[in-house]
Symmetry: C2
Amino acid sequence: MPALRAAQALRPAIRSLHAASLNSARCFSSASIRMASNKAFIQGEPDAPVLKASIPGPQSQKRIDELSEVFDTRSINMMTDFTKSIGNYISDPDGNYLLDVYAQIASIPVGYNNPALAKAASTPDMVNAIINRPALGNFPSHDYAEILKTGILKVAPKGLNNVFTAMAGSDANETAFKAAFIYRRQLERGGPDVEFTQEELDSAMNNQSPGSSSLSILSFKTAFHGRLFGTLSTTRSKPIHKVDIPAFDWPQATFPKLKYPLDQHAEENAKSEQASLDEVEHLIKTWHIPPAAVIVEPIQSEGGDNHASPNFFRGLRELTKKHNVLLIVDEVQTGVGATGKFWAHDHWNLQDPPDIVTFSKKAQAAGFYYGNPALRPNKPYRQFNTWMGDPVRALLFRAIVGEIERLDLVNHTAKVGDYLFSKLEGLQKKYPEHFKDLRGKGQGTFIAFDNPKRDQFLAKAKEFGINIGGSGASAVRLRPMLTFQEHHADILVDALEKIVKAL
Amino acid sequence: MPALRAAQALRPAIRSLHAASLNSARCFSSASIRMASNKAFIQGEPDAPVLKASIPGPQSQKRIDELSEVFDTRSINMMTDFTKSIGNYISDPDGNYLLDVYAQIASIPVGYNNPALAKAASTPDMVNAIINRPALGNFPSHDYAEILKTGILKVAPKGLNNVFTAMAGSDANETAFKAAFIYRRQLERGGPDVEFTQEELDSAMNNQSPGSSSLSILSFKTAFHGRLFGTLSTTRSKPIHKVDIPAFDWPQATFPKLKYPLDQHAEENAKSEQASLDEVEHLIKTWHIPPAAVIVEPIQSEGGDNHASPNFFRGLRELTKKHNVLLIVDEVQTGVGATGKFWAHDHWNLQDPPDIVTFSKKAQAAGFYYGNPALRPNKPYRQFNTWMGDPVRALLFRAIVGEIERLDLVNHTAKVGDYLFSKLEGLQKKYPEHFKDLRGKGQGTFIAFDNPKRDQFLAKAKEFGINIGGSGASAVRLRPMLTFQEHHADILVDALEKIVKAL
């Protein structure tokens, strides 16, 4: 490939230009790490990060410039060569390989170029799904039940054996909201068999009540549920996500603010959680547009990796049941194994399951699970769109589930998470100001900490061969894949120490 | 396959049960039609519809029952076997083959199991796109500029050389709305360099103005733009789409009501169009939540195939420019060749292009095109989401464009549309009450007519080997693929006559 040859020709120049970062990278090539990758789940990973050029290097910059002509690239993190990325390593057009603990914003489940997924992507079934995309609501494919049952539904949360498939997290949440509004209005109307009034039908066409319901979704401060108009009205992460966009006047409750380490602040934290529950109840009872549902993330992710205890979530379940308000658990980022359980809400030991659980990201497919048949609207075409999901992604999720089972990746992630967390505790003792509020213990690799120079931290990480992301105002969040192993954790922890030393 | 064997075993029973429909089907197997398909673009199509069982037949019913356990199937039209569907023919698990002029709600562009698409779906590039899905805003793939330029952007509407990629029509429209709101507020603020005020930032977090803007999108009565919360607020097709779902108090103007035949109602129709434009202008000037954009379909599709003249749309472009309101043309259903031009708005001969054109369906990819660089928000992360589109579908659209060019399918569709329309005029003369307001002349195969027993018409069509859809309250809409040929038109017209005779 000409691009590759050009990169090779430029390499000597890059080498001298970026000697500093290259030197810092070389230290990863120790014998012990080189050995470790023999245990890698995915063969072909480098033994350690490889830094051949600055990021962006000349080849990457050329491609960024080219893309910028037609596509907004100002949020670019790095130009990526996915054909060369492998396992836990992300590559770029300049031949760099970074250990990737961000994983396409927490959405790559089992490694780049995973051979089992490549196999699934090469089957006649997949070709069929790509070129003959069904309008699933009208013309489901003869094998869609089987595809669902052996994939998306095989891993359905306990008690939720129905699914409505969607495209991504945002529309998964919006369709869940619609299900909640329809369900609530059916109850208010006296059941699914009660017909709409003419006034409802007419006023709905004018976007007026009673047809357009005066109901809301209650979400939490610092929550993130998406960026479409309904979901953005429940998203409270950052002003830049929301400013200038019209929003519904929906209520928000304060999410518990836990203090760390948890065992030293048990009483305070319990109080914070109770205050949050009290606020939820107050809003349910008093908000001028009554909530049909509460939506909550098991761990607020984009909003800064904010945790709450199982006890809080059990309280929330109890409260929502008491007031006949649905509980929607948004597992778009937490789902599919990263917390050491398949679904993060499995940590809560709920007596009654959530009413709705939404998923996307590492599932690659998207949608919402539900159990109560009354959450199917009383008439067809109320929840409907042309494609209603994507069998390509349903097939891929099935292959992902297969790979998770084959390698026991959920239990694996629980263990590696424990290993990583204890090493991070070591770092925290050494550099307390750089690893503040270390959190995610017992939550697999879903770990975060605050750093006072967070943005520099993230940028600097690339010089040490690590691709890592942030969340909220000051959190560094770890979102490795489920194929992240102890030897990767060693490389990561080693690099984290170097990063904070260089800050 | 066991399913197939079971279907074969059942066949004698079905034959006797459904003798009537089978007889009506057999008449398609005339010699002339059998010959015609030798000219078919896609080899392997049957010469005519094949009816082996009722619809749903026993195999289909079994699979519907199975799917119903986990997925809402009440909007099912027919259970489909996409592996056996070919070209313009849709197949089911009972071995039926129907001539498909509905095409997955107007979203299959170049035939089922098109070999060129199958080839594109089998490449290493496609496998890579499936298994290594990028977060395009942060980590675009090194070849995304090339993928866009040789595909999605190769067919960009004149003057619109930028694209924001999305998942489907609904989020394509919603992100277009967001672009419009951000653009408008930037203008009001005094330009992209003026910073947000603290009040704006704070109030946005509470879903309150001024941060959450008090702006609207103006749409037309009987329009359809999607079913998410923002788009549903602009959708005015049917109450069942809207009832119980909260909506923004956005304005709607009356869409022109053209009378047919057009040449006999020129003056009246011009008046109706002017009245509509006057109403738009009045709403722009007076609506209590000012419109940032007007969104319009070139032909209102879900709402009943409502047309307006190029003159109307030129007036709308003029009016929106005059009032500094963006014009968003929703080409989700009309785009990609079906009207005999690549984009339906190519029929209008606009001096200034629309500000934004949205696309999906037959593109299989989705998003919005724009030309004015100021429609990129002034800061990154204002238009953003995890995936920002899907390279799988971008690659597929490129292959679709290749197939359209290879077979000159846009010009082909213009010609076949003319052929079909003149034959339908013949039917209309014979059965005026059954082919009311025949419309879409000169608009390729994007043709519709009203039928007083529309729902029975659609159901009955299957007995005569045709899969056909409706729109609005009483329209039968033709949405064949771009590979629909004259010999298919002959079969269709023959069947349409039989259907109305049987009503």
